[in-house]
Symmetry: C2
Subunit: 208 residues, 2 copies
DNA sequence: TTGTCAATTGTCAGTGGCTGTCATTAGCCT
DNA sequence: AGGCTAATGACAGCCACTGACAATTGACAA
Protein backbone atom coordinates (compact mmCIF):
# COMPACT_ATOMS: atom_id res chain seq x y z
CA UNK A 1 0.00 0.00 0.00
CA UNK A 2 2.43 2.54 -1.23
CA UNK A 3 0.56 4.77 -3.56
CA UNK A 4 -2.38 6.95 -2.67
CA UNK A 5 -4.57 4.94 -4.96
CA UNK A 6 -3.85 1.71 -3.12
CA UNK A 7 -4.46 3.32 0.26
CA UNK A 8 -7.75 4.69 -0.95
CA UNK A 9 -8.82 1.30 -2.19
CA UNK A 10 -7.89 -0.24 1.11
CA UNK A 11 -9.90 2.36 2.99
CA UNK A 12 -12.92 1.88 0.76
CA UNK A 13 -12.82 -1.86 1.29
CA UNK A 14 -12.48 -1.50 5.02
CA UNK A 15 -15.29 1.02 5.16
CA UNK A 16 -17.55 -1.27 3.14
CA UNK A 17 -16.74 -4.28 5.29
CA UNK A 18 -17.05 -2.44 8.59
CA UNK A 19 -20.34 -0.88 7.58
CA UNK A 20 -21.67 -4.15 6.23
CA UNK A 21 -20.89 -6.05 9.42
CA UNK A 22 -22.36 -3.31 11.55
CA UNK A 23 -25.58 -3.28 9.57
CA UNK A 24 -25.75 -7.07 9.53
CA UNK A 25 -25.40 -7.32 13.29
CA UNK A 26 -27.76 -4.49 14.09
CA UNK A 27 -30.42 -4.87 11.40
CA UNK A 28 -29.98 -8.50 10.45
CA UNK A 29 -28.41 -10.00 7.35
CA UNK A 30 -31.49 -10.33 5.22
CA UNK A 31 -32.98 -7.01 6.20
CA UNK A 32 -29.79 -5.28 5.09
CA UNK A 33 -29.63 -4.56 1.37
CA UNK A 34 -26.47 -3.96 -0.59
CA UNK A 35 -27.88 -0.55 -1.41
CA UNK A 36 -28.05 0.21 2.31
CA UNK A 37 -24.37 -0.61 2.70
CA UNK A 38 -23.28 1.30 -0.37
CA UNK A 39 -25.31 4.32 0.59
CA UNK A 40 -23.93 4.35 4.15
CA UNK A 41 -20.39 4.34 2.74
CA UNK A 42 -21.43 6.80 0.05
CA UNK A 43 -20.36 4.75 -2.92
CA UNK A 44 -22.44 3.27 -5.71
CA UNK A 45 -23.90 -0.22 -5.41
CA UNK A 46 -21.72 -1.20 -8.34
CA UNK A 47 -18.61 -0.38 -6.34
CA UNK A 48 -19.64 -2.76 -3.57
CA UNK A 49 -19.69 -5.59 -6.08
CA UNK A 50 -16.25 -4.59 -7.29
CA UNK A 51 -14.88 -5.31 -3.83
CA UNK A 52 -17.03 -8.29 -2.88
CA UNK A 53 -18.27 -11.07 -5.11
CA UNK A 54 -21.57 -10.92 -3.29
CA UNK A 55 -23.32 -9.99 -0.09
CA UNK A 56 -22.27 -13.32 1.42
CA UNK A 57 -18.59 -12.67 0.87
CA UNK A 58 -18.74 -9.60 3.06
CA UNK A 59 -20.62 -11.47 5.75
CA UNK A 60 -18.11 -14.33 5.74
CA UNK A 61 -15.00 -12.17 5.54
CA UNK A 62 -14.11 -12.64 9.19
CA UNK A 63 -14.50 -16.40 8.97
CA UNK A 64 -12.10 -16.31 6.09
CA UNK A 65 -9.46 -14.82 8.34
CA UNK A 66 -9.81 -17.59 10.90
CA UNK A 67 -9.72 -20.21 8.17
CA UNK A 68 -6.44 -18.82 6.88
CA UNK A 69 -5.12 -18.71 10.42
CA UNK A 70 -6.09 -22.31 11.02
CA UNK A 71 -4.56 -23.53 7.78
CA UNK A 72 -1.34 -21.75 8.68
CA UNK A 73 -1.37 -23.45 12.09
CA UNK A 74 -1.60 -26.82 10.41
CA UNK A 75 1.28 -26.04 8.10
CA UNK A 76 3.46 -25.13 11.05
CA UNK A 77 2.92 -28.35 12.99
CA UNK A 78 6.09 -30.36 13.57
CA UNK A 79 6.34 -33.21 11.08
CA UNK A 80 6.71 -35.94 13.68
CA UNK A 81 3.08 -35.59 14.80
CA UNK A 82 0.56 -38.07 13.47
CA UNK A 83 -1.92 -36.52 10.97
CA UNK A 84 -4.95 -36.34 13.21
CA UNK A 85 -2.89 -35.16 16.12
CA UNK A 86 -1.48 -32.37 13.98
CA UNK A 87 -4.98 -31.23 13.09
CA UNK A 88 -6.07 -31.42 16.69
CA UNK A 89 -3.11 -29.42 17.93
CA UNK A 90 -3.56 -26.88 15.17
CA UNK A 91 -7.09 -25.99 16.22
CA UNK A 92 -6.40 -26.06 19.92
CA UNK A 93 -3.28 -23.99 19.64
CA UNK A 94 -4.63 -21.85 16.83
CA UNK A 95 -7.33 -20.69 19.17
CA UNK A 96 -4.92 -19.27 21.65
CA UNK A 97 -3.69 -16.82 19.05
CA UNK A 98 -6.99 -16.32 17.24
CA UNK A 99 -8.09 -13.56 19.58
CA UNK A 100 -5.27 -11.27 18.52
CA UNK A 101 -5.66 -12.10 14.87
CA UNK A 102 -9.29 -11.12 14.85
CA UNK A 103 -8.95 -8.14 17.13
CA UNK A 104 -6.57 -6.65 14.57
CA UNK A 105 -9.51 -6.39 12.20
CA UNK A 106 -12.67 -6.19 14.26
CA UNK A 107 -13.87 -6.68 17.83
CA UNK A 108 -14.00 -10.34 18.73
CA UNK A 109 -17.53 -9.89 19.90
CA UNK A 110 -18.50 -8.92 16.37
CA UNK A 111 -16.85 -12.05 15.06
CA UNK A 112 -18.75 -14.23 17.49
CA UNK A 113 -22.02 -12.57 16.60
CA UNK A 114 -21.34 -13.20 12.92
CA UNK A 115 -20.58 -16.85 13.62
CA UNK A 116 -23.96 -17.30 15.21
CA UNK A 117 -25.62 -15.38 12.41
CA UNK A 118 -24.02 -17.69 9.84
CA UNK A 119 -25.46 -20.74 11.57
CA UNK A 120 -28.92 -19.27 11.81
CA UNK A 121 -29.14 -17.73 8.35
CA UNK A 122 -29.80 -20.33 5.65
CA UNK A 123 -28.12 -18.44 2.84
CA UNK A 124 -25.01 -17.81 4.93
CA UNK A 125 -24.84 -21.34 6.28
CA UNK A 126 -25.02 -22.70 2.74
CA UNK A 127 -22.23 -20.43 1.56
CA UNK A 128 -20.15 -21.30 4.59
CA UNK A 129 -20.53 -25.03 4.05
CA UNK A 130 -19.65 -24.75 0.39
CA UNK A 131 -16.55 -22.83 1.33
CA UNK A 132 -15.54 -25.51 3.82
CA UNK A 133 -15.44 -28.04 1.02
CA UNK A 134 -12.69 -26.02 -0.57
CA UNK A 135 -10.92 -25.59 2.74
CA UNK A 136 -11.00 -29.32 3.35
CA UNK A 137 -9.51 -29.96 -0.05
CA UNK A 138 -6.66 -27.63 0.80
CA UNK A 139 -6.21 -29.21 4.20
CA UNK A 140 -6.03 -32.64 2.63
CA UNK A 141 -3.30 -31.38 0.32
CA UNK A 142 -1.32 -30.11 3.29
CA UNK A 143 -1.63 -33.43 5.08
CA UNK A 144 -0.71 -35.36 1.98
CA UNK A 145 2.48 -33.38 1.52
CA UNK A 146 3.31 -33.64 5.22
CA UNK A 147 3.05 -37.40 5.14
CA UNK A 148 4.49 -37.81 1.70
CA UNK A 149 1.52 -39.59 0.17
CA UNK A 150 -0.26 -39.00 -3.13
CA UNK A 151 -3.78 -37.65 -2.76
CA UNK A 152 -4.81 -39.01 -6.13
CA UNK A 153 -4.15 -42.61 -5.22
CA UNK A 154 -4.39 -42.56 -1.43
CA UNK A 155 -7.78 -41.55 -0.01
CA UNK A 156 -6.52 -41.23 3.55
CA UNK A 157 -5.75 -37.49 3.50
CA UNK A 158 -9.23 -36.60 2.29
CA UNK A 159 -10.81 -39.14 4.62
CA UNK A 160 -9.02 -37.86 7.69
CA UNK A 161 -9.94 -34.30 6.82
CA UNK A 162 -13.55 -35.22 6.09
CA UNK A 163 -13.90 -36.78 9.51
CA UNK A 164 -12.13 -33.92 11.22
CA UNK A 165 -14.13 -31.33 9.31
CA UNK A 166 -17.37 -33.06 10.19
CA UNK A 167 -16.57 -32.79 13.87
CA UNK A 168 -15.49 -29.17 13.47
CA UNK A 169 -18.71 -28.16 11.80
CA UNK A 170 -20.71 -29.95 14.44
CA UNK A 171 -18.77 -28.00 17.03
CA UNK A 172 -19.56 -24.68 15.37
CA UNK A 173 -23.19 -25.50 15.19
CA UNK A 174 -23.58 -26.76 18.72
CA UNK A 175 -21.66 -23.80 20.04
CA UNK A 176 -23.98 -21.43 18.21
CA UNK A 177 -27.10 -22.94 19.79
CA UNK A 178 -25.58 -23.11 23.26
CA UNK A 179 -25.71 -20.36 25.83
CA UNK A 180 -22.04 -19.52 26.29
CA UNK A 181 -21.02 -17.39 23.34
CA UNK A 182 -17.38 -16.97 24.28
CA UNK A 183 -14.26 -18.01 22.41
CA UNK A 184 -13.27 -20.13 25.39
CA UNK A 185 -16.54 -22.01 25.24
CA UNK A 186 -15.89 -22.81 21.58
CA UNK A 187 -12.41 -23.97 22.36
CA UNK A 188 -13.60 -26.14 25.19
CA UNK A 189 -16.34 -27.65 23.06
CA UNK A 190 -13.83 -28.49 20.34
CA UNK A 191 -11.54 -30.28 22.74
CA UNK A 192 -14.47 -32.09 24.31
CA UNK A 193 -15.85 -33.31 21.00
CA UNK A 194 -12.48 -34.41 19.67
CA UNK A 195 -12.01 -36.44 22.83
CA UNK A 196 -15.35 -38.13 22.40
CA UNK A 197 -15.07 -39.05 18.74
CA UNK A 198 -13.38 -42.30 19.62
CA UNK A 199 -16.06 -43.48 22.04
CA UNK A 200 -18.79 -42.37 19.65
CA UNK A 201 -17.41 -44.67 16.96
CA UNK A 202 -16.91 -47.59 19.32
CA UNK A 203 -18.85 -50.80 19.22
CA UNK A 204 -21.77 -50.04 21.47
CA UNK A 205 -22.99 -47.11 23.52
CA UNK A 206 -25.09 -49.20 25.79
CA UNK A 207 -23.88 -50.16 29.23
CA UNK A 208 -24.56 -53.83 29.54
CA UNK B 1 -55.18 -38.47 -5.02
CA UNK B 2 -58.86 -39.06 -5.04
CA UNK B 3 -60.47 -35.99 -6.42
CA UNK B 4 -59.92 -34.50 -9.85
CA UNK B 5 -58.35 -31.46 -8.25
CA UNK B 6 -55.71 -33.48 -6.47
CA UNK B 7 -54.89 -35.45 -9.60
CA UNK B 8 -54.50 -32.24 -11.54
CA UNK B 9 -52.15 -30.83 -8.95
CA UNK B 10 -50.12 -34.00 -9.01
CA UNK B 11 -49.85 -33.85 -12.79
CA UNK B 12 -48.81 -30.22 -12.74
CA UNK B 13 -46.11 -30.91 -10.20
CA UNK B 14 -44.81 -33.87 -12.14
CA UNK B 15 -44.82 -31.91 -15.37
CA UNK B 16 -42.91 -29.06 -13.74
CA UNK B 17 -40.36 -31.39 -12.20
CA UNK B 18 -39.89 -33.47 -15.33
CA UNK B 19 -39.51 -30.42 -17.52
CA UNK B 20 -37.17 -28.73 -15.04
CA UNK B 21 -34.87 -31.74 -14.85
CA UNK B 22 -34.86 -32.14 -18.59
CA UNK B 23 -33.95 -28.50 -19.14
CA UNK B 24 -31.32 -28.61 -16.40
CA UNK B 25 -29.60 -31.62 -17.90
CA UNK B 26 -29.78 -30.45 -21.49
CA UNK B 27 -29.26 -26.70 -21.12
CA UNK B 28 -27.51 -26.53 -17.77
CA UNK B 29 -28.85 -25.40 -14.42
CA UNK B 30 -27.83 -21.76 -14.56
CA UNK B 31 -28.76 -21.26 -18.17
CA UNK B 32 -32.28 -22.49 -17.44
CA UNK B 33 -34.60 -19.81 -16.08
CA UNK B 34 -37.73 -20.46 -14.09
CA UNK B 35 -39.61 -18.72 -16.87
CA UNK B 36 -38.28 -21.30 -19.33
CA UNK B 37 -39.64 -24.11 -17.19
CA UNK B 38 -43.01 -22.47 -16.60
CA UNK B 39 -43.40 -21.62 -20.24
CA UNK B 40 -42.57 -25.16 -21.34
CA UNK B 41 -45.25 -26.51 -19.01
CA UNK B 42 -47.57 -23.68 -19.99
CA UNK B 43 -48.20 -22.33 -16.54
CA UNK B 44 -47.32 -18.98 -15.04
CA UNK B 45 -44.00 -18.43 -13.32
CA UNK B 46 -45.95 -17.80 -10.14
CA UNK B 47 -47.35 -21.32 -10.26
CA UNK B 48 -43.87 -22.81 -10.33
CA UNK B 49 -43.09 -21.10 -7.05
CA UNK B 50 -46.30 -22.46 -5.57
CA UNK B 51 -44.99 -25.98 -6.11
CA UNK B 52 -41.30 -25.42 -5.39
CA UNK B 53 -39.77 -23.11 -2.83
CA UNK B 54 -37.12 -22.21 -5.38
CA UNK B 55 -35.26 -23.34 -8.44
CA UNK B 56 -32.91 -25.38 -6.25
CA UNK B 57 -35.71 -27.40 -4.72
CA UNK B 58 -36.68 -28.72 -8.12
CA UNK B 59 -33.07 -29.56 -8.94
CA UNK B 60 -32.61 -31.41 -5.66
CA UNK B 61 -35.94 -33.23 -5.70
CA UNK B 62 -34.42 -36.56 -6.72
CA UNK B 63 -31.78 -36.37 -4.01
CA UNK B 64 -34.57 -35.84 -1.57
CA UNK B 65 -36.04 -39.18 -2.51
CA UNK B 66 -32.79 -41.01 -1.89
CA UNK B 67 -32.35 -39.22 1.41
CA UNK B 68 -35.77 -40.37 2.55
CA UNK B 69 -34.94 -43.86 1.36
CA UNK B 70 -31.70 -43.89 3.28
CA UNK B 71 -33.28 -42.58 6.47
CA UNK B 72 -35.90 -45.29 6.23
CA UNK B 73 -33.17 -47.90 5.80
CA UNK B 74 -31.55 -46.73 9.00
CA UNK B 75 -34.82 -46.90 10.88
CA UNK B 76 -35.32 -50.48 9.81
CA UNK B 77 -31.93 -51.74 10.98
CA UNK B 78 -32.13 -54.42 13.67
CA UNK B 79 -31.53 -52.91 17.10
CA UNK B 80 -28.69 -55.27 18.01
CA UNK B 81 -26.31 -53.64 15.53
CA UNK B 82 -23.81 -51.13 16.83
CA UNK B 83 -24.60 -47.53 15.75
CA UNK B 84 -21.93 -47.13 13.10
CA UNK B 85 -22.54 -50.59 11.78
CA UNK B 86 -26.24 -49.78 11.42
CA UNK B 87 -25.39 -46.70 9.38
CA UNK B 88 -22.97 -48.65 7.25
CA UNK B 89 -25.41 -51.42 6.57
CA UNK B 90 -28.16 -48.93 5.82
CA UNK B 91 -26.23 -47.29 3.01
CA UNK B 92 -24.85 -50.48 1.58
CA UNK B 93 -28.17 -52.24 1.63
CA UNK B 94 -30.14 -49.10 0.78
CA UNK B 95 -28.27 -48.96 -2.46
CA UNK B 96 -29.44 -52.33 -3.60
CA UNK B 97 -33.00 -51.07 -3.58
CA UNK B 98 -32.28 -47.50 -4.60
CA UNK B 99 -32.40 -48.30 -8.28
CA UNK B 100 -36.06 -49.28 -8.15
CA UNK B 101 -37.00 -46.37 -5.93
CA UNK B 102 -35.57 -43.86 -8.34
CA UNK B 103 -36.70 -45.58 -11.49
CA UNK B 104 -40.26 -45.20 -10.22
CA UNK B 105 -39.86 -41.46 -10.64
CA UNK B 106 -37.20 -40.84 -13.25
CA UNK B 107 -34.53 -42.70 -15.21
CA UNK B 108 -31.57 -43.52 -13.00
CA UNK B 109 -29.30 -41.97 -15.56
CA UNK B 110 -31.04 -38.66 -15.01
CA UNK B 111 -30.50 -38.99 -11.29
CA UNK B 112 -26.81 -39.65 -11.75
CA UNK B 113 -26.48 -36.69 -14.06
CA UNK B 114 -28.15 -34.47 -11.50
CA UNK B 115 -25.81 -35.74 -8.79
CA UNK B 116 -22.82 -34.67 -10.81
CA UNK B 117 -24.47 -31.34 -11.61
CA UNK B 118 -25.03 -30.68 -7.92
CA UNK B 119 -21.35 -31.19 -7.18
CA UNK B 120 -20.22 -28.95 -9.99
CA UNK B 121 -22.76 -26.15 -9.55
CA UNK B 122 -21.88 -23.87 -6.62
CA UNK B 123 -25.44 -22.80 -5.88
CA UNK B 124 -26.68 -26.40 -5.90
CA UNK B 125 -23.78 -27.73 -3.87
CA UNK B 126 -24.41 -25.08 -1.24
CA UNK B 127 -28.09 -25.94 -1.03
CA UNK B 128 -27.28 -29.64 -0.90
CA UNK B 129 -24.82 -29.21 1.95
CA UNK B 130 -27.22 -27.07 3.93
CA UNK B 131 -29.84 -29.74 3.51
CA UNK B 132 -27.41 -32.41 4.75
CA UNK B 133 -27.13 -30.55 8.03
CA UNK B 134 -30.83 -31.11 8.58
CA UNK B 135 -30.58 -34.71 7.48
CA UNK B 136 -27.75 -35.35 9.90
CA UNK B 137 -29.77 -33.89 12.71
CA UNK B 138 -32.58 -36.28 11.91
CA UNK B 139 -30.20 -39.19 11.63
CA UNK B 140 -28.73 -38.35 15.01
CA UNK B 141 -32.21 -38.39 16.48
CA UNK B 142 -32.83 -41.84 15.02
CA UNK B 143 -29.58 -43.16 16.45
CA UNK B 144 -30.27 -41.61 19.82
CA UNK B 145 -33.63 -43.27 20.07
CA UNK B 146 -32.23 -46.59 18.86
CA UNK B 147 -29.58 -46.59 21.54
CA UNK B 148 -31.75 -45.03 24.18
CA UNK B 149 -29.55 -42.05 24.87
CA UNK B 150 -30.44 -38.38 25.21
CA UNK B 151 -29.16 -36.19 22.38
CA UNK B 152 -29.23 -33.09 24.55
CA UNK B 153 -26.76 -34.44 27.06
CA UNK B 154 -24.90 -37.09 25.08
CA UNK B 155 -22.97 -35.80 22.05
CA UNK B 156 -22.25 -39.25 20.67
CA UNK B 157 -25.22 -39.50 18.29
CA UNK B 158 -24.38 -36.22 16.61
CA UNK B 159 -20.67 -37.05 16.61
CA UNK B 160 -21.14 -40.43 15.00
CA UNK B 161 -23.41 -38.95 12.36
CA UNK B 162 -21.04 -36.03 11.72
CA UNK B 163 -18.20 -38.44 11.05
CA UNK B 164 -20.34 -40.69 8.93
CA UNK B 165 -21.82 -37.76 7.03
CA UNK B 166 -18.38 -36.38 6.37
CA UNK B 167 -17.31 -39.60 4.74
CA UNK B 168 -20.54 -39.79 2.75
CA UNK B 169 -20.13 -36.33 1.32
CA UNK B 170 -16.56 -37.06 0.43
CA UNK B 171 -17.78 -40.15 -1.37
CA UNK B 172 -20.34 -38.19 -3.37
CA UNK B 173 -17.76 -35.67 -4.37
CA UNK B 174 -15.04 -38.10 -5.35
CA UNK B 175 -17.53 -40.17 -7.29
CA UNK B 176 -18.63 -37.11 -9.23
CA UNK B 177 -15.09 -36.29 -10.32
CA UNK B 178 -14.22 -39.89 -11.17
CA UNK B 179 -14.79 -41.51 -14.50
CA UNK B 180 -17.24 -44.28 -13.66
CA UNK B 181 -20.65 -42.64 -13.34
CA UNK B 182 -22.60 -45.74 -12.38
CA UNK B 183 -24.56 -46.54 -9.26
CA UNK B 184 -22.32 -49.53 -8.68
CA UNK B 185 -19.24 -47.35 -8.74
CA UNK B 186 -20.78 -45.14 -6.09
CA UNK B 187 -21.65 -48.11 -3.97
CA UNK B 188 -18.18 -49.53 -4.30
CA UNK B 189 -16.60 -46.21 -3.42
CA UNK B 190 -18.75 -45.95 -0.31
CA UNK B 191 -17.75 -49.37 0.92
CA UNK B 192 -14.13 -48.68 0.12
CA UNK B 193 -14.05 -45.39 1.98
CA UNK B 194 -15.87 -46.73 5.01
CA UNK B 195 -13.32 -49.51 5.19
CA UNK B 196 -10.45 -47.07 5.10
CA UNK B 197 -11.70 -44.61 7.69
CA UNK B 198 -10.08 -46.59 10.45
CA UNK B 199 -6.62 -46.66 8.89
CA UNK B 200 -6.92 -42.98 7.95
CA UNK B 201 -7.42 -42.07 11.59
CA UNK B 202 -4.66 -44.32 12.85
CA UNK B 203 -1.42 -43.15 14.36
CA UNK B 204 0.80 -42.81 11.36
CA UNK B 205 0.51 -43.30 7.61
CA UNK B 206 4.19 -43.67 7.06
CA UNK B 207 5.78 -47.04 6.59
CA UNK B 208 8.85 -47.00 8.76
C1' DT C 1 -78.90 -28.67 -11.55
C1' DT C 2 -77.61 -24.88 -9.54
C1' DG C 3 -75.58 -21.98 -6.32
C1' DT C 4 -72.12 -21.39 -2.88
C1' DC C 5 -67.64 -22.02 -1.07
C1' DA C 6 -62.87 -22.88 -1.28
C1' DA C 7 -58.83 -24.07 -3.74
C1' DT C 8 -55.92 -23.08 -7.78
C1' DT C 9 -54.19 -20.14 -10.95
C1' DG C 10 -52.89 -15.89 -13.70
C1' DT C 11 -51.66 -11.21 -13.72
C1' DC C 12 -49.30 -7.44 -12.22
C1' DA C 13 -46.28 -4.78 -9.75
C1' DG C 14 -42.41 -4.68 -7.04
C1' DT C 15 -37.89 -5.90 -4.42
C1' DG C 16 -33.24 -7.22 -4.28
C1' DG C 17 -28.97 -9.42 -5.84
C1' DC C 18 -26.00 -9.19 -9.49
C1' DT C 19 -23.82 -8.01 -14.31
C1' DG C 20 -22.41 -5.53 -18.66
C1' DT C 21 -21.41 -1.26 -20.67
C1' DC C 22 -19.78 3.16 -21.17
C1' DA C 23 -18.65 7.69 -19.95
C1' DT C 24 -16.30 10.25 -16.23
C1' DT C 25 -13.14 11.02 -12.74
C1' DA C 26 -8.85 10.79 -10.41
C1' DG C 27 -4.30 9.19 -9.30
C1' DC C 28 0.17 8.04 -11.74
C1' DC C 29 4.24 8.76 -14.40
C1' DT C 30 7.20 11.04 -17.72
C1' DA D 1 1.39 19.78 -18.43
C1' DG D 2 -0.50 15.99 -20.57
C1' DG D 3 -1.23 11.32 -21.78
C1' DC D 4 -2.23 6.77 -19.66
C1' DT D 5 -4.68 3.71 -16.77
C1' DA D 6 -7.22 2.34 -12.87
C1' DA D 7 -11.37 3.29 -10.16
C1' DT D 8 -15.90 4.90 -10.01
C1' DG D 9 -20.69 6.29 -11.15
C1' DA D 10 -24.69 6.01 -13.81
C1' DC D 11 -27.77 3.37 -16.30
C1' DA D 12 -30.08 -0.41 -18.16
C1' DG D 13 -31.18 -4.96 -17.74
C1' DC D 14 -31.65 -10.07 -16.12
C1' DC D 15 -33.37 -13.24 -12.96
C1' DA D 16 -35.10 -15.27 -8.61
C1' DC D 17 -38.65 -14.53 -5.70
C1' DT D 18 -42.92 -12.37 -3.22
C1' DG D 19 -47.41 -10.06 -2.09
C1' DA D 20 -51.90 -8.86 -3.49
C1' DC D 21 -55.95 -9.31 -5.95
C1' DA D 22 -58.96 -10.90 -9.37
C1' DA D 23 -60.54 -14.73 -12.24
C1' DT D 24 -61.32 -19.44 -12.80
C1' DT D 25 -62.43 -24.03 -11.66
C1' DG D 26 -63.46 -28.11 -9.14
C1' DA D 27 -66.16 -29.76 -4.74
C1' DC D 28 -70.26 -30.27 -2.44
C1' DA D 29 -74.75 -29.50 -0.61
C1' DA D 30 -79.42 -27.76 -1.20
Amino acid sequence: METLRERKKQRTREALLRTALELFTTEGYERTTVDDIAEAVDVSQRTFFRYFAGKEEAALALMEVTVAHFLQSVRERPPHEAPMEALRQAVVEGWDTLNDVIEAIAPVELYLRMCRMVESTPALLAAHLRRSVEVEEEMAAILAEREGVDMDTDPRPRLAVAVFGGVMRLTERQWSVGEDFSLDAMRALTVSYLEQVGPALSESWRTH
